[in-house]
Symmetry: C2
Subunit: 224 residues, 2 copies
């Protein structure tokens, strides 16, 4: 009685999963999905009907959708595979962190439980991907230590850079160009009221300014 889930359906489930976690756990609208996947609302409606028939989502016309437990399991497995492959690409094949997304989008649909279990072991059962995003474990459990963007801490002091919100190539390349990597220590020396920019020292280097836009996309933890 196993339902077959196509690559396209997997992508819809992943999109719904991602969108529902953007702010609070919540319902996702047809338009949000069509924006995210770059296709038309009518197309999304058709797919929602199919996913609903397969019991992968709860769908009430005009009301938005939520994943069922089965849908959530499927989505999180795709996320797990995506993030594990990103670790493989960076750690083993020496790709840069801004180069791996498109390839992982393909690899995440390879279907073999045995493969993913062995890959996980081969990589040393990593807990985070190269962008600091947590990797769900084999049971679909996720480390929920959600870090907070730098600009939301309104205090000076020491932080550890643990992840990014924005995953675009240009943003990641920008961070690389200013010399910032996951795990670095950030010392916030000044917070400018008028434009919400931050004067920050990376590790022991010279201080530089982070715009609010940069600071809002950098996830940090207070350094112990």
């Amino acid at each position: 009685m196993r339902v077959i889930i196509s690559l396209t359906e997997e992508n819809y489930l992943k999109a719904i999963y991602t969108l529902s976690h953007l702010f609070e756990e919540s319902e996702v609208s047809t338009n949000q999905i069509s924006d995210h996947l770059n296709n038309k609302a009518a197309t999304v409606t058709d797919m929602l009907k199919r996913l609903s028939e397969k019991k992968l989502i709860h769908y009430i016309p005009y009301q938005g959708v939520k994943l069922t437990e089965k849908g959530r399991q499927t989505a999180i497995k795709v996320v797990r595979k995506h993030r594990l492959w990103e670790v493989f690409l960076v750690d083993k094949l020496q790709f840069k962190w801004d180069e791996v997304h498109e390839i992982a989008e393909q690899l995440e649909h390879i279907n073999s439980d045995e493969l993913i279990q062995r890959l996980d072991k081969f990589l040393g059962k990593p807990k985070f991907d190269p962008h600091g995003d947590p990797i769900p474990d084999a049971n679909g459990q996720l480390n929920i230590v959600k870090a907070i963007p730098l600009n939301q801490h309104k205090i000076k002091g020491l932080f550890t850079f643990v992840g990014v919100c924005e995953h675009s190539k240009t943003f990641l390349q920008h961070l690389t160009s200013i010399g910032l990597k996951i795990g670095d220590t950030l010392k916030v020396e000044e917070i400018n009221e008028f434009d919400n920019s931050f004067k920050v020292k990376i590790n022991k280097n010279n201080s530089q300014f982070f715009s609010n836009k940069v600071a809002s996309n950098i996830l940090v933890e207070i350094k112990k």
Copy 2:
């Protein structure tokens, strides 16, 4: 002006490539392809028209097909990816040689030149896959040292086991169960006329009998 080649089209090209090399380099028929891919002849005809329009094959109705240079390059790239991924699965993830085919069938369609170049380097630029099949290089060149099945050597003496003809799980598991691995030395001690079976010693172990069916699917080189 780059033509997009779908996963399905890649599989047809690979099938044509494989079938055309089975005996001599030759034309491939519609029925051969439909048998190989387990679909109907009518389906194959449709696809042949499409591949022909894309200049990937030379197709004359009722006459069979041959790959164009572009088609051959595409097919051989898929073969290269398949075999490199098989090496990865066996060497890095410790899969057994009879477990990797289905997974590699999926991985062979991942589309990234950079990925395959880095994977090749990571694996140490292997020349052969776990079944002894040669891996085409990045330019589509293939080691053409075609080994010969054991049963075609009508002489006793020492051989090296370099590959298999048959790739089925059951055959590979059979070889494993009799303790035979790529690279092993085979000493042919007797050839029985009446059933064409072979009495063979693997490395320094006890002698055993190979049926003609086994001997015909084992590729060997005369040991220097």
